[in-house]
């Protein structure tokens, strides 16, 4: 039901340097689309969490970026973090605050979900994990179109 994507880009996630690159890229696009400072900060932090999971738990992968534009009604950003790692066996457990299979705080997944508007986790044990988040620019819609 969403309008067709305006553009899609893909960035690799294979190292610490890639994480920095991914964050910076998203921040730039979010600023460009008109996200406010707080929303930008939240989005970039969610990106940092998910990209790090892709790197650390998924063994590396990539991020897909899609700019969304609904006929001037609202603008947003959809980001997918894709890996072909071990996958998550128990999704409810992974989404629990404080659960970590390593030595993290276990707040990355659950925290990222609280930081963005839409969050979808898709994982198949043995085949990989894809987390997709979407955030819409809040505030006044662009003035190009009047009310329908």
């Amino acid at each position: 039901m969403h309008a067709p994507p305006v553009s899609a880009t893909c960035l690799p996630i294979g190292s610490d340097a890639d994480l920095a690159q991914v964050r910076q890229h998203v921040r730039r696009i979010a600023a460009d689309l008109g996200f406010g400072l707080v929303q930008q900060t939240k989005l970039v932090t969610a990106v940092s969490e998910l990209a790090r999971n892709t790197l650390v738990h998924g063994g590396g992968g990539h991020m897909e970026i899609i700019r969304l534009e609904e006929c001037g009604v609202r603008r947003g950003l959809r980001l997918s973090f894709v890996d072909a790692g071990p996958g998550i066996r128990d999704i409810d457990l992974a989404m629990t605050d404080g659960y970590t299979s390593g030595d993290g705080l276990g707040l990355g997944l659950s925290g990222a979900r609280r930081l963005v508007q839409e969050f979808v986790l898709d994982s198949h044990p043995g085949r990989g994990t894809t987390v997709t988040i979407t955030d819409w620019v809040s505030g006044v819609p662009s003035p190009r179109t009047g009310t329908p």
Binding site: R28, A31, T45, S48, G104, L107, G108
Partner: protein, 298 residues
């Protein structure tokens, strides 16, 4: 109030580029007197000034494209060879990699001084954002120079990277018994390790009772960074020092809360000055606020 996020706003990067272009002559003149330029370009002072301008043009270009932290930015291509020659000449003069990096780091000061003078009338935060951006860019220049000095050998690169990291995280003694680290830029796993080690070392060396971690210059605080902060605070505590985290900006504070991170056990202060005041008070030193402008003597 708009809080500056130096790595984000393209305006700050653009303004930095414009500044470097505008002050090209003055900065190059000052650089020409530094050992790095003076001892390499010996034919004439003009030669040194010209070399400085070439570097400034490259920096301005990199700033304009907003890739302040990227040592691979295309803007550096034009001067990579020149920087390599400069580093090689210094190395032949007997300087080790860390001294050369130190000389490159010394180029920052004159540029920052000019920047501050230029922005005298601007809001404090804006000036701060521009100065941070310039510091980040000069750090990247240092990285470019160090990269040119390494031909082959991953081990050497790793060692130099380590030295760079150490220099990028200076521990400052603010007052007797009070040390501070201003954290700037991205905290990756190598960097966080260095921060922790140099801070703990400084606590021992300076017999510090207070350690301030200022995160004003950290663009993103995620669970990784937060966890590292907490570990550092805990380790400092074991060494008998109290840690104070300063510079948590409003947007970052909100984000931390949403993430679900509990920093409740950590002492935090808005700015570095507040953190220092807290530490001094803790040492029994009375800090009084500055006299209000316009208030007559009582």
């Amino acid at each position: 109030m708009k809080v500056a996020e130096y790595d984000t706003t393209p305006e700050v990067a653009r303004e930095l580029g414009a500044f470097l272009e505008r002050r090209r002559e003055q900065i190059a003149q000052r650089w020409a007197d530094t050992a790095l330029f003076r001892t390499v370009f010996t034919v004439s002072r003009d030669e040194a000034v010209e070399a400085g301008k070439a570097v400034l043009d490259a920096l301005a270009e990199v700033a304009r494209t907003g890739r302040l932290e990227d040592s691979g930015a295309p803007g550096f291509a034009a001067v990579r060879e020149q920087l390599g020659r400069m580093a090689a000449a210094r190395s032949r003069a007997g300087l080790g990699p860390s001294r050369i990096a130190g000389e490159v780091a010394g180029l920052r000061e004159p540029a920052v001084a000019l920047l501050r003078a230029d922005l005298e009338d601007a809001a404090g935060e804006h000036t701060h954002a521009c100065a941070l951006a310039l510091t980040v860019l000069m750090g990247t220049l240092r990285l470019v120079v160090m990269e040119t000095t390494v031909g082959a050998g991953g081990e050497l690169i790793a060692r130099q990277r380590q030295q760079l990291l150490e220099m990028a995280t200076p521990v400052i003694e603010l007052w007797e018994g009070v040390v501070a680290v201003p954290l700037i830029g991205t905290l990756d796993s190598a960097r966080t390790q260095v921060v922790m080690e140099s801070l703990l070392e400084a606590i021992v060396d300076q017999r510090a009772r207070y350690a301030i971690l200022d995160i004003t210059g950290v663009p993103t605080v995620d669970t990784f960074v937060a966890q590292h902060l907490m570990k550092t605070v805990a380790a400092a505590r074991l060494m008998g020092a109290e840690c104070i985290v300063s510079g948590i900006r409003p947007a970052i504070a909100q984000t931390i809360v949403h993430l679900g991170i509990d920093l409740g056990t950590i002492t935090t202060r808005a700015g570095l000055a507040d953190a220092l005041a807290y530490a001094l008070t803790g040492q029994g030193i009375v800090v009084s606020p500055p006299p209000r402008a316009g208030a007559g003597p009582r």
